[in-house]
Subunit: 349 residues, 2 copies
DNA sequence: CCTTAGCACTCTACGGGACAGAGTGCTAAT
DNA sequence: ATTAGCACTCTGTCCCGTAGAGTGCTAAGG
């Protein structure tokens, strides 16, 4: 692939920004006039033909203007686009949207997805914190009724998870209290990811303490906690914003996308992928995702953290034709803000 | 209003069932032929003209067939329709969809909405149990960090609610344990609706016990619990099923409806209304709801209970043109099944 | 060699007219 | 009271013809 000249890039940029605004194929005249290139439309046509050969643009039909391909968009995002910086007023608006918020983490995440969807007029998504990253705070075992025990797990960051545990024989609450006291002591401040190991270790070390019931309960508990850890969750908010986009006017398209969202596991995988690697904002175009149903959408995401540990991902989902230059900084800022709000106040400056 | 003759009713029924199947205006020929009425189309036309005058049918334009009005539909539902009974196989299918379920109430409700949406090919809704109806099981106060306390409330039925509490001065965990021990004793088996009163009563009676911190914490706790009680929640599942219905082909219509769902409070009010009164299945047609955005949809709902106390409502939301005779028994059966699953096993036969 | 003006060509979107089909309401006969 | 028959109305569709947008190519100019 030959290097693109400065002018080629300008044309590509012109086509893309114009297309993002209007949603219509962009013709050579418009590019020449509206975008301050000091050449004639004929020249632009030649450049556009080249860009088409490179696979950056395509024509829906012979006598139409050009539309960027996914590849062209990717190139634009990676090499050409300049981010707008967020105006202070906008930052303030976003901050304020969080301000009334209670300190509850769940509430905070929920609000984040709402803020993103509102400010970007697309769907906002939030991937729940990987529990295994956070630390143990408290566990509670409660006998609801015969052979049914509710396990409640609280992480230091304030996430509460509960899960039912069906048990072969009945245990009274008094016993359970004893067990949970032990667990709370054993697990103090342990990262949730290491709970399993710690419990096993504890059982080996304190052998004397355990009767059969005790150790069996602990094992069950450990299993429940483990399965809780492995389940991720996502919030999606503002899906209806997607319906406004004219590219989703055909119901059938829209339906595919929305049902893809209903199967959360796919979405989770998608978001997961953007978390593992780089720190800043990442963009996944539909064609780069595994699933065909999602081929017409685009995800702009950024991880959020607590201190040094990556917790999860927030992002915006919309059509391929989105105002990236605006949305990217919004996502970035929001992720940073969320990280900040999650920061342990005791550690804060 | 004059009484409808037997034949008038048959015609109305024919038009409605046909319309429900096809979604197209129904003409006199079709009614005469397909529905075993032993009269000519001309006669049917006369009857239809009468029904139109009564406001039960209307014509979208002069040379089209008839479509039932909301009023006609209402009459049909109230006086004419015969329910299909659910085949045993279908019952079995529904039962099985629940079978793998853990005993956790939250999970159970979630599954219910999914089952309803799957079996009826529409959106399934579940209104959360009114907490105030259930009984107190356990409360836990946990100091997450300076001045932040997590209040966790568990009802006897296994519902877990948590809420953050921001507190002016710091309290150590040891104190909190003392308070929660007191609360757990005081509130044992009290209906959640009466918690407030009980706490106040307790504070008056055990005056001696209380230092200032103690009573203030209790008051705060009581307030948090109260606000938790007042918040309802709904699950909606399978919204994308709605997109399949041809009546929602126009995106704009659909958007209105889906955004009406995003504002949950409106939905909650709607569902609430169907809970208060009668016991069996209730149907609310769009025009009967308060909100204009919902005027094109229809809700089929049935309350569920635990023992004698009404807890909440389950239902199906779809277009006005739905297969009522099938969906109604599904909703009814599912509600009954859910009630059964929620039943305290100790009380069960 | 790059740029540009000019032009023929292609494709779409849109509006109008003709036409078939569906369904009605009315009238007159049974 | 019912029904056959018929004129009438309205819709949806197909088929133009045309205007407009945008292209690619060619030939001329710097």
């Amino acid at each position: 692939m030959t290097e693109l000249t400065r002018r080629d890039q300008q044309v590509l940029e012109a086509v893309i920004t114009d297309y993002i605004q209007t949603g219509e194929p962009v013709g050579s005249r418009v590019v020449a006039k509206r975008h301050g290139l000091e050449v004639s439309s004929a020249t632009i046509r030649n450049v556009m033909a080249d860009l088409e050969e490179l696979g950056f643009l395509y024509q829906p039909h012979t006598s139409a203007g050009r539309i960027p391909t996914d590849r062209g968009l990717r190139f634009y995002l990676d090499f050409i686009m300049k981010f707008k910086t967020l105006k202070e007023e906008e930052r303030e608006l976003i901050r304020r949207a969080f301000n009334e918020s209670e300190a509850d983490v769940k509430e905070l995440l929920h609000r984040t997805s709402r803020v993103l969807s509102d400010f970007c007029k697309q769907a906002g998504v939030v991937l729940w914190p990987k529990l295994s990253m956070t630390r143990f705070k408290h566990i509670e075992l409660i006998r609801l009724r015969t052979r049914q025990i509710m396990v409640i797990l609280i992480s230091k960051s304030g996430l509460v998870h509960h899960r039912m545990l069906e048990w072969e024989e009945d245990i009274n609450q008094h016993e359970l209290d004893k067990y949970s006291r032990y667990l709370n002591e054993l697990l103090e401040d342990v990262p949730l990811g290491e709970i399993k190991a710690r419990i096993i270790e504890g059982m080996r070390k304190d052998k004397a303490l355990f009767d059969q019931l005790f150790s069996k309960t602990l094992e069950m508990t450990q299993r429940v906690v483990q399965s809780t850890l492995e389940n991720s969750e996502v919030y999606i908010e503002g899906q209806t914003n997607l319906l406004i986009n004219p590219e989703f006017a055909q119901v059938e398209r829209m339906r595919k996308i929305l049902s893809a969202f209903e199967d959360k596991s796919r979405l989770i995988r998608l978001l997961d992928r953007t978390m593992s690697t780089s720190p800043g904002v990442r963009i996944v175009l539909g064609s780069e995702s595994e699933s065909k149903d999602l081929s017409e959408i685009s995800l702009i995401s950024s991880p959020y953290r607590r201190g040094d540990t990556l917790l999860g991902v927030v992002g915006v989902i919309g059509p391929l034709r989105m105002d990236y230059s605006r949305i990217i900084p919004v996502v970035e800022f929001t992720a940073a803000l969320l990280s900040d709000l999650l920061e342990d106040p005791e550690n804060r400056a």
